[in-house]
Structures are given as C-alpha cells and as structure tokens.
C-alpha cells in the first residue's frame, strides 16, 4: 500500500495507544463493576464510603436531652411530643462547641405550617387545632400567647 494511505492509519493507531496509556493513569484503580450488573453497578467503589462519611447535621432529641433534659421532658409530655427539637431550633451540628446558640424559630409563619386552617375536607390538617391567619391575632407572634414546648400552657 502507498505511504499516504498508511500515514493516517498509523496516526489513528498511535492515538488509540496514547489514550489507552493515559487511561491507565487517569482511571482510579477501584473503578469497575462492583455488583451484578454492568449497567447499574459500574462505578468508583470508594465513592460509597465518601457518601457514608458525609457529615450528619440533625442529631436528634437524644443529643438535646443530654443538656436540656427539662425542656425535653416538658415536650415529651405535651401534644407537641412528635415534633423534633431541630424542626424549630435548626440542625444541632456543632452545638454547643462551635455554634454556641441555636436559632429559635419564633415566626408566626412557622406555627402556621401546621396550624393554618385550609378548610380541606377529610384532611389531616383540618383535624389539628387551627386558626385563620387573617382573623386570628393578625401578625402577632404565636409564641407570645402559646408556649411551644407545651401548647396547653401560657409562656412565662
């Protein structure tokens, strides 16, 4: 065959070889099929551990009770027992070492998430104690009159 035909062929083969060599260095060792299916399980294995190591932010009531036993006891005996502390106080990660004070959600809109009357028939929201935003103590903070840890009580 003529030289001008072979030249691009050598170039193509050379490129393939270069790519194959580069691949050896660029693709991590743990990349491959980890599981039954090539379609679904082809991945970098160490990424699973990376996701497992993602930092946890919401630590749960068990973490709060260590210092705030009084509040947790009141909450647990109240109609609000099912509500997590961190729903109103934000994620506890770093508290109290780095984050000395957690925010306290006092906004009226926060209470209205559950207690705004929507007048939906046969609906869980309608079974909760609810108020009409437009007529009930317009724009006032709910926590001024209702103690959130035990809504049956008045705030001190």
């Amino acid at each position: 065959m003529k030289w001008h035909v072979l030249r691009p062929l050598w170039l193509a083969i050379g490129l393939v070889v270069v790519i194959l060599i580069a691949r050896q260095f660029l693709v991590p060792d743990d990349f491959g099929v980890h599981g039954e299916s090539f379609t679904y399980n082809f991945h970098r294995l160490s990424n699973v551990q990376e996701w497992k190591d993602f930092p946890v932010k919401h630590l749960g009531r068990e973490s709060c009770v260590e210092c705030h036993e009084e509040n947790v006891t009141v909450l647990n005996a109240s109609p609000h027992a099912a509500i997590e502390c961190e729903n109103c106080h934000g994620p506890a990660v770093g508290h109290p070492d780095d984050v000395e004070f957690l925010p306290i959600e006092r906004a009226r809109e926060h209470c209205l998430r559950c207690h705004a009357s929507l007048d939906y028939p046969n609906h869980a929201r309608s079974e909760l104690p609810n108020v009409r935003d437009r007529t009930h103590k317009r724009r006032r903070e709910c926590v001024k009159c209702h103690y959130p840890h035990d809504p049956r009580e008045k705030p001190e």
Binding site: F54, K57, A124
Partner: protein
C-alpha cells in the same frame, strides 16, 4: 496424521467445553468482596409515604435542605411536597412553591384564591428519589458517575460527574437537578450517610405525623416493611418499568 474416531470426539468435546466456559466463571471473590456481597444482600432500602397523614408543613423539605447542604434559597430540592386541590368542576389545582419548603399556609394556588366551598378534595404528596431497581438515570450516564449500591440506593459520584445533565433528563420523576455549588447532578439518596449509621433520613426524622418512613425490605420484621408487603400501596409511574421503591398510601389518579 491419523486420528481415531475416539480421539476426534474427545478433542471436539473438550474444545467445545473450553470455548463455552467463560473466564469469569473462574473468578474468585476476595474475603472483602464476599463479605460486602453478603452484607448488601441483607439490606434493600425502600420508603413509605402516607399521603393521608401529610399536613403539608414542609418541615421535611427544610430539614433535607439543611442536612444535605442544598442551597436554601435556590429553587432546587432533593425532596418536595406537592399540593393537589380538586375543585367540584373537576379541575386539579397543583402547586409546590419552593418545593413546599415554607409550608402551605393559605388557600392561594398559583395566584388564584380557591374558595373552600368549591373544594371536593385536597391532599399533599411528598416526592423524593424512588431509588428504582431499573434506574433510567444510571443507564444514560456516559461516565459511570451514577450507580446503584448493593442496598438499592442510587448515588452520584461528585468527583466523576461531568455535569452533562443526561440523567436529569432521563429521570421520569424529575427528582434530579443540577447542584448550583458543586456543578454536578444531585438527587435524594435517602440520606445515605444517616441510614448507613442506623439513623433515619432527615425528612423522616422531621416528620411529626409519620407520613414519611424508611424501610429495609430484606428485613421481614421491619414494621414499615410489613406495611408495604401487607397493605395496599402504590408507586408512581409504574408503567415506566423502573420499579420504584418509594411506596405511597392514598395515591389519587390526579397525582402525576
């Protein structure tokens, strides 16, 4: 060269056997791989959503955003809550402002005030990644950056993702989005960092009404698995054949 009939048959059979047996049949698992395979076989994560219990407070969306470092004010979320209000003229009014992050505190849907007297039924539907058994998002990834783990959760490799967005297009449930900070595809992974430590996902933890629960389908004693296996549950877009693993109680024909 002479060849008896016996020799010929022997060699032919041997040759056929050798060519049929794949090399992979002789692959042996290392201890680590074997252990991982056994561990994975004991877990298959699934999710149960009871739409009858959801009051639309949106605290799950808020908790998810904080837990998973999804920019709070960006219009992207790993889980969201949709509101369906069906009025007596047969119209379905559907909204999910900011994914329901701030809850649903009035009767205004898409700028329209709905008269409570005209409402036939109304309900909230929390949505999240379905962790499909046949995930179409994984099939389309050109670089192997998204995959299914042995326990059924579909993860995204943030280092390997090139942000092409094929998976975002491929998901029939629209659960994937482009992460504005990491510039990669992102989605709900059932809070993989929490469930692998024995904790509940952040949305489950924050739900005061037990509307969202996580289950291990391989554990027959799991109370949520018992509900999924014995009660009437439905999945979204079953006809796509993706085998989703988020099960719903109280789904309506209007839910898309």
């Amino acid at each position: 060269m002479s060849c008896s009939r016996r020799d010929f048959l022997k060699q032919a059979c041997g040759g056929t056997l050798a060519s049929v047996l794949p090399v992979s049949a002789f692959t042996f698992l290392s201890m680590e791989e074997a252990r991982a395979a056994v561990e994975n076989a004991n877990v298959r994560w699934a999710f149960l959503v009871d739409t009858r219990k959801c009051v639309g407070c949106g605290l799950c969306v808020k908790a998810c955003k904080n837990e998973n470092e999804i920019p709070y004010d960006a219009p992207v979320m790993r889980t969201w809550v949709e509101r369906y209000v069906i009025t007596n003229d047969g119209t379905a009014h559907i909204d999910s402002p900011m994914g329901g992050r701030d809850g649903f505190i009035d009767n205004v849907i898409n700028g329209e005030e709905i008269d409570p007297d005209t409402i036939d039924k109304a309900f909230f539907v929390p949505k999240l990644c379905n962790q499909c058994d046949n995930p179409p998002c994984v099939q389309v990834c050109p670089v192997g950056a998204t995959y299914q783990t042995g326990d059924g959760v579909v993860l995204v490799d943030r280092e390997w993702c090139i942000g092409c967005g094929y998976c975002i297009m491929a998901c029939p449930y629209g659960v994937r989005f482009f992460h504005p900070v990491h510039k990669v595809a992102d989605k709900c992974n059932f809070c993989y960092h929490r469930i692998t430590k024995g904790m509940n996902p952040a949305c489950v933890e924050s739900c005061a009404f037990d509307a969202r629960r996580i289950a291990n389908l391989r554990d027959p004693d799991d109370p949520v698995t018992k509900i999924i296996t014995t009660e009437r549950v439905a999945v979204l877009k079953d006809e796509y054949g993706t085998k989703p693993h988020v099960f719903y109680i109280g789904l309506d024909e209007n839910v898309r």
